[in-house]
Symmetry: C2
Subunit: 427 residues, 2 copies
């Protein structure tokens, strides 16, 4: 088991990057029962870690990824110039400060970046790629696997679990399923469940892939082909929902690529060029079966479903502090969706801070270093710095308590809705 | 040439339907120069008319159709139970009252419902279907063709030109290109130009079709196949933009088709079932090349483009009265887009009434008989009933005047923004 700076280069501390990082595989030779009732005989997880785990393993932060994310969240792979997907927030002195915290990022099962997924060999089928035989997985399954990873890393309680979009759903599920195993939960640009419109967009993406003749019922690898057309369309429609209408207007407007109407079906408007490029790039690097699995996990997520739609009851087991973040121009998971989470937590007298960040980038905002957002994240995580150092234990005792049903009767604490987190929290 | 009740059955006056209607073809054996610079050697228009043209041909109303619309706007075709697409508004005593008005609806060129389009024989290629050789057409081209149809029908001045969505763009273009030929212009759920996001959705629809292997570069009819997959996807993504998020929530929510998660790619949520059904139906009846042509016409529409983006200047030639209608939950062409038109007209001191109708159906609202909307439409068109009968000529003289540049210096008249049209207008 490897922890600490072993995968961060020596220059990391001289700037705000964790530097060169090397992913590593954690293999689990144990069967995994999934929510669908199906079982994986074994699985691998591709992970990256940044920073150093302290002696009592109290400074670990788990980063959960979104639809197309993975374990490479910060720093650089050797020979590559593109930083990890959340490099803006993870690093020395950054919001998720690797001087203070031991940060763990992984590729979820079902993914296509090294963890066991549809492109992995299926031991029950002559080690041919799983393809469509890889079982559907749910947010709850991912959280279960992440808990096994935590066991492996000797992390009994996460200082925080943080995620945006689909990652935020995992953070929320952790708070419910393992209330004793996290102190802080950060749910960014997320929702307690998808709307009909969200599902509709996912369905268009899925049908794009499923109806591509090169998909071959998911066995395209065996056919030595790729459903590129389907993946391109899926990504194009996805991208429209990631950007706000205003962001698109600012970025492209009605600008023409050649300056004039061409009266044909080649690229005319810049926005067409952008979408085609995004789709093309994505189709080279992403597995179509993984895309299907990820969209289904999104559709299924609905922790209130077991409680007749009552989100208050669903979230009641959580004992951690929450930071919920939304962005004004996010129309995929609009602020009103985040507020559903906040309202449920407040009703339950659970400690929650909420910020609605004015940002033009739409759903993608969660990937940008927007000052108010980053400062709030830093402040929220930093409060617990005192806890790490052993201060304020009494003051924050409720944050560490095991789940106690009577807690719901305690007075409202630490709840801030629709306003910036307080200075105390940010310090 | 046929006008009047010849295509309306004898029972039409006993209820609010125009009854059984029969479309007819108007052929134009003349070449048509298009905005692209290309020429059609000849063309046919499939049209329907309802009501009777009066002796001085002053009671004619032109209905312009939207992306997938056509000439069958009201009544029933023999043996069919489905009414025309705007039957809710066109008929005896309806908002567009066929007791008073002679209503003309047509299928635009480039369409696939009988007018010359990609499925028509190409006289310059052994009468094989045009397919991809059919030229791109613009809103301005359609308006030019509609003016030729007006000539054919001896209609020198339309009492009104009415259209929703892409149809509204045609009505607006009429007001600019032929200011002497219409008295009233009704622009519903439309926009002076598409946004980057609108173009992005169109581009996804186009790429769905263009990348379907059965599209065969547009020559699918010669290959005896149909790009069904592409059309299904195009229609699915279109449908998401036609409905409001709230309408989808009300209609489907997260309802499951079987009551339980199936953990597969068959239909699980009702919204998936709805989209697939809509896509499937559409793909049977609509031509893929026409879909491409229609989306490009939408993208190109931008009357302000010739005036360095100045919509005021673009609309200045118009001399008709305007009714502009938007719907609160329309996110395809949001009320703010309609207000751009209204603001330009007000700046120009042109007579405009504007209503923003509170309706849950999103962009599709324009097809529904929403009382405030229908009453306003009736009232706006009815004002001119007086004109038809010869009253109020002096009062409304400006409505009939040829374009007079000095009109812009006249005092503001008849402009109502952001409020219901006045009782006078509705009476």
């Amino acid at each position: 088991m490897t922890q600490g700076h072993d995968n961060v280069d020596a220059n990391a501390d001289t700037n705000d990057s964790v530097g060169i990082v090397t992913p590593r595989m954690e293999s689990f030779e144990q069967s995994l029962l999934l929510e669908t009732g199906r079982t994986l005989p074994r699985f691998d997880l591709m992970i990256e870690t940044y920073g150093t785990l302290n002696s009592d393993a109290s400074n670990a932060i788990l980063i959960c990824h979104a639809l197309s994310g993975h374990h490479h969240a910060a720093g650089f792979h050797l020979g590559e110039s593109k930083a990890g997907w959340w490099d803006s927030c993870i690093g020395p002195n950054k919001a998720i400060d690797t001087h203070k915290f031991f940060v763990v990022a992984l590729n979820n099962i079902g993914g296509c970046n090294g963890s066991t997924g549809p492109t992995s060999p299926n031991p029950e089928n002559d080690n041919k790629p799983y393809g469509p035989d890889f079982p559907l997985v749910t947010v709850r399954d991912w959280v279960k696997v992440q808990a096994l990873l935590a066991d492996r890393l000797d992390i009994h309680i996460w200082h925080a679990i943080v995620g945006g979009s689909l990652g935020g759903m995992q953070a929320l599920q952790w708070a419910v399923d393992y209330p004793n195993r996290l102190k802080n939960c950060v749910v960014i640009a997320s929702t307690p469940k998808l709307s009909a419109q969200n599902i509709a967009f996912n369905e268009v993406a899925r049908q794009s892939i499923l109806s591509d003749p090169d998909f071959h019922g998911g066995r395209f690898l065996e056919q030595k082909t790729l459903p590129k057309r389907g993946l391109i369309l899926a990504r194009m429609v996805g991208h429209i929902t990631y950007l706000s209408e205003d962001a698109m207007k600012q970025k492209f407007g009605r600008d023409l690529k050649s300056g004039n109407f061409l009266y044909g079906y080649d690229v005319e408007f810049q926005v067409e060029s952008y979408l085609r490029y995004q789709g093309e790039q994505f189709s080279r690097n992403f597995d179509a079966n993984t895309y299907l699995i990820m969209t289904k996990a999104l559709d299924y997520f609905d922790p209130a479903r077991d409680f007749e739609g009552n989100l208050n009851k669903a979230l009641a087991p959580a004992t951690c502090r929450f930071l919920v973040v939304s962005f004004t121009t996010d129309w995929r998971f609009a602020p009103s969706r985040s507020r559903e989470i906040v309202d449920a937590l407040i009703s339950n007298r659970q400690p929650v801070s909420y910020i609605e960040v004015d940002a033009p980038q739409g759903h993608d905002s969660f990937l940008f270093p927007i000052p108010r957002y980053v400062d709030s994240l830093r402040g929220f995580l930093g409060t617990a710095k005192a806890n790490i150092l052993g201060h304020n234990v009494t003051k924050n005792a409720h944050l560490h308590a095991d789940h106690d049903p009577s807690r719901a009767e305690q007075p409202l604490r630490n709840t801030v809705q629709n306003q910036q987190v307080t200075q105390e929290q940010q310090s």
